[in-house]
């Protein structure tokens, strides 16, 4: 009860005090002194994936299993395929996953303070035409019903709570990520014009009657007027349209980095526009721009996908070879827990692994490599447990927090969806290791693997200190995860002017593919639909052979 408006003032004043005293404080805590560990896609198997695959083909398998369908890879795509098959009544399915837990890029961790994501962390509310996705969300409890107009009612605990985003710019935390504080009118006008243009593109329909920009992206119009945008960089597109404002371009570059891990100059204009114009979510109880999020990020969705099917999953299992047999396929895998090889004979296989792994698994049977292979930006993600977050003036902590002019794409507060407050929290810091050429990217990847935990910590804290003076003093734990092949990047020409879709064509009636690499844009929806598509193809084939 009673007047209580002090916390705002307190936060501001404390921030001022912290900024003022920062230089007097003793030097940063040394990186070695902060407990935590370095994680990453399975370490034991890591060198197998990065280096040549082990030649275990000739070791006799200790066990042989059989299944109607074997799914390799338990990321979103693999789990979605498994769920779809289960719903269609196909229960003789076996999923192999390299990690201890399924989820792939949507993995999560947990400590005594909060659960936290290691990769994917949100899903924008979908277009209501995405029926399959809505059904899944309803089953997951994220949609609780529909209103009379047919708009979904979202579970308020899953919708991102307010305040959602803030940007540290010119010494102040402002609300929202589009720069406002200290931005000249000329720039504001351009920003306004840009968003007006996006609104037009969101509604735009091609000559074939399809949306210019749709999710899944293969539902987008083939109209050359739009698809040709893929041959141009987003930066060039903007220049052509007179969008020169450094603030606007900073923001859009940030968006490209955040969603694709590449810069404005590298991103295909089609992809850059799709990021905005492809979002057509509608809800009965939230604005179209709302997103769903959980402390553990999209691991929530991965777990839901997993729980919505009952077929067995073998984790800690590295598939290392696949061959076609007379009756279908034979997969060899390494049971990492027991250190032995197992064989799986199946009628069909779904390879839900990243394309560069898939190619290795297939060996000679692999479809011709894309002439312009998709770049995979390495990412480093850090989860920091802090007992306080001293900050400068302005908006208090939000879900997504970005610092203007830094290399990272900011951090999210994993505690944000908690219903009670505590000074201890986990923040998840994201940084794409962007390179301009593919050589630079492999260089960045090598560097990423070579960088020590202490070096990462020093780098990350230095960046956070700019907006959170003396935060180093408040860090209790830092865990680091390096994603060597974070996600496929839709560089110029990658989406509509490559053999992207050709690569995912099934081989015969026995090998199917599902992964966001075949979409070129790495988001939950694409993984979800690519899993469904592969399952549907198997079902269709099964029906035709049964007839």
């Amino acid at each position: 009860m009673k007047p209580n408006r002090r916390t705002f003032l307190t936060q501001t004043a404390l921030g001022v005090a912290a900024l003022a005293t920062a230089p007097l404080l003793p030097g940063c805590r040394t990186a070695q002194a902060i407990p935590g560990q370095t994680l990453g896609p399975n370490h034991r198997a890591g060198h197998w994936l990065r280096g040549p695959l082990p030649d275990l083909t000739h070791t006799a398998p200790a066990e042989t299993h059989s299944a109607e369908v074997v799914i390799v890879g338990g990321g979103i795509a693999g789990l979605s395929a498994r769920r779809w098959l289960a719903k269609a009544g196909i229960t003789d399915v076996l999923l192999l996953e390299l990690e201890e837990k399924t989820g792939g890029n949507s993995a999560a961790g947990q400590n005594s303070v909060s659960a936290y994501p290691w990769g994917a962390h949100y899903l924008p509310i979908p277009d209501i035409r995405n029926r399959e996705l809505l059904d899944f969300l309803a089953e997951a409890g994220s949609i609780t019903g529909y209103n009379q107009a047919g708009l979904p009612l979202y579970n308020e605990y899953h919708l991102c709570h307010d305040p959602e985003e803030r940007l540290f710019i010119n010494g102040h935390w402002q609300e929202g990520l589009v720069p406002e504080i200290g931005v000249p009118t000329r720039d504001r006008d351009q920003i306004r014009r840009f968003f007006a243009e996006i609104e037009t593109l969101r509604q735009a329909v091609g000559t074939d009657g399809r949306d210019a920009f749709a999710i899944p992206l293969d539902h987008s119009s083939a109209d050359a007027r739009y698809r040709n945008l893929d041959m141009q960089s987003f930066a060039d597109y903007l220049t052509q349209k007179g969008f020169t404002s450094p603030y606007l371009r900073w923001y859009l570059n940030y968006c490209c980095q955040d969603d694709y891990g590449i810069s404005l100059e590298q991103t295909s204009a089609w992809a850059g526009l799709h990021y905005f114009a492809g979002r057509k979510g509608r809800a009965a109880n939230a604005p179209g721009s709302a997103v769903l999020t959980w402390p553990e990020g999209n691991a929530f969705l991965a777990d839901q996908l997993r729980q919505q099917a009952e077929t067995p999953t073998c984790t800690n299992t590295l598939a290392f070879s696949l061959e076609q047999t007379e009756t279908g396929v034979r997969v060899l895998a390494r049971d990492l827990a027991r250190n032995r090889t197992v064989a799986i004979n199946a009628r069909t296989a779904i390879l839900a692994t990243p394309a560069f792994i898939t190619r290795r698994l297939l060996g000679k049977a692999a479809p011709a490599a894309a002439p312009q292979p998709l770049t995979h930006t390495p990412w480093v993600v850090a989860n920091l447990t802090v007992d306080a977050l001293p900050q400068g003036p302005g908006v208090p902590l939000c879900w997504d927090n970005v610092v203007y002019g830094t290399d990272s794409v900011g951090y999210i507060s994993a505690n944000h969806q908690h219903l009670h407050d505590s000074p201890q929290r986990v923040i998840t810091f994201y940084k794409p290791l962007t390179g301009h050429t593919s050589a630079q990217v492999s260089e960045a990847r090598k560097r990423a693997y070579g960088t020590t935990r202490e070096e990462w910590i020093t780098e990350i804290l230095a960046e956070l200190e700019t907006a959170h003076p003396s935060i180093s003093q408040h860090v209790q734990e830092i865990d680091i995860w390096v994603w060597g092949h974070g996600m496929a990047a839709p560089a110029v020409g990658a989406l509509w002017h490559s053999n992207r879709t050709v690569q995912s064509q099934p081989i015969g009636h026995s090998i199917y593919f599902a992964h966001t690499d075949y979409s070129g844009i790495s988001i939950f929806e694409e993984a979800f639909y690519s899993g469904i598509r592969s399952a549907q193809a198997i079902l269709a084939n099964r029906q035709s052979t049964a007839l």
């Binding site: 003032l9 307010d162 709302a290 009670h420």
Partner: protein, 527 residues
Amino acid sequence: MADEPTDPLAASKTHRPEGESLNSFQILLLLSVFVIATCGLIYELIAGTLASYLLGDSVTQFSTIIGAYLFAMGIGSWLSKYLDGDLLRWFIRIEILVGIVGGFSAPLLFVLFEYVASFRVVLYGLVGLTGILVGLEIPLLMRILEHQLSFKDLVSRVFTVDYIGALLASVIFPLVLVPQLGLIRTALFFGLLNVLVAAFVLYKFPQTRPYRTAQGMLIGFTILGLLAGFALAERVMTYTESVALQDKVIYSQSTPYQRIVLTSNAREMRLYLNGNLQFSSADEYRYHEALVHPAMQANPRARRVLVLGGGDGLAVRELLKYPALRTIRLVDLDPGMTQLFRQNELLLKLNKRSLLSPKVDVVNADAYTWIRQDTARYDVVVVDFPDPSNYSIGKLYSTAFYRELDRVLAPGGVVVVQSTSPYVARRAFWCIAHTLQAVGLRTFPYHVHVPSFGEWGYVLASRTTERTGWPSPNRLNLPAGLRYVSPLTLRDMTTFAPDMAEVPTEVNRLNNQALVQYFEDEWSAVP
């Protein structure tokens, strides 16, 4: 270097006749002693005053602070013999340090009071440090002046000036400094004086030339820092417990969740949580009667009640006036709070030992997390949370939370929500009503006048599908002895004057936190 002052001490090094009249330079040095002495006593007074303001029990605080301070000065004096070599340099350093430590002592203590659990350690640490530094000053100065005056004159003059300085300090402190400058600025101002003494010595003595630039810069920075502190003093005060300082503090405790301070004067007792007034014993009955009785009258067959927040047991005291109630479950985050209201004699008198009643079941948990797991059903739910001044409290006023309330409501049940001031925060008040409506509840907004808060609002709510509503005047069965709620006041509570009348607002949801925005806008407009 012609304009360099010649060493004023050198001339008189050889002969020092007794009773010699002082040269202007020596007068200036003695003036420094005077300033130093005044500063020293001021720091002691500040620490004592601050301790008794913040911790209460001024006799104990003052005497332990003075004791500790004098003892520390003793340590300083003893330590002074270990300082050898360039005494002037030592003196300058110590003056700068005293300026920093003493000058920032008050702002630092005010700020830390709210944020550290072991405030006493910080307080006595700072007092000790200041004492030691101040204890070093006079012995050092005397050694610097040693060759200037005969021992007799030296002792007599230095101590005369010292004691006059002390007298001045003790007179101007209560009469001029505290009323005019406040504690924080007083400390900063005297810190500045110490640093100016250092500057004076640095520039008057040619021996200091080798380190003049370095020390000069340090002095410059310190002065800047102190001046910045001076400018920010107002800011520091606005968020410290300045409010609580008018009265005597009779109890204070920092729990992991909040700082609880109880003050009293001849007329009333006041409870502050993190510096915000929770109640005044003089008129809290108005607030709590109005919170509880309309809801209890609306559902006269109530047996089970849930109270969220309200760890002071005052709402429970009102509830216990209904003997038919079987259980009252109180959920309050802070065990420190409920413990205090079960143990402190004065508070037990105020809440009539309500929390000790066998009917009462106290749960210390976060209300939101707790209610999501609760499976019981209640006839009346009393929601007495702090005002929605930040986003985490704002969640407790959201549609999502009200849906949880609706879920735990037994058939015919009612909810009552304390809803801030409809006069000061009109949109915030109506936003709460609209949010309750948005989850399908029928609302009955009402308000009362509580002198120590002003006009205060509540919203009673029941299910749209049920007949329960605002108590009808002819079916009232109020307990005896109420001082505010009566059939007549009950009737008046629901009329809103035009300046508080309903306004359209958004509904408060977790994903828009509209209420916090309204609340912040409206309360920040209050001077």
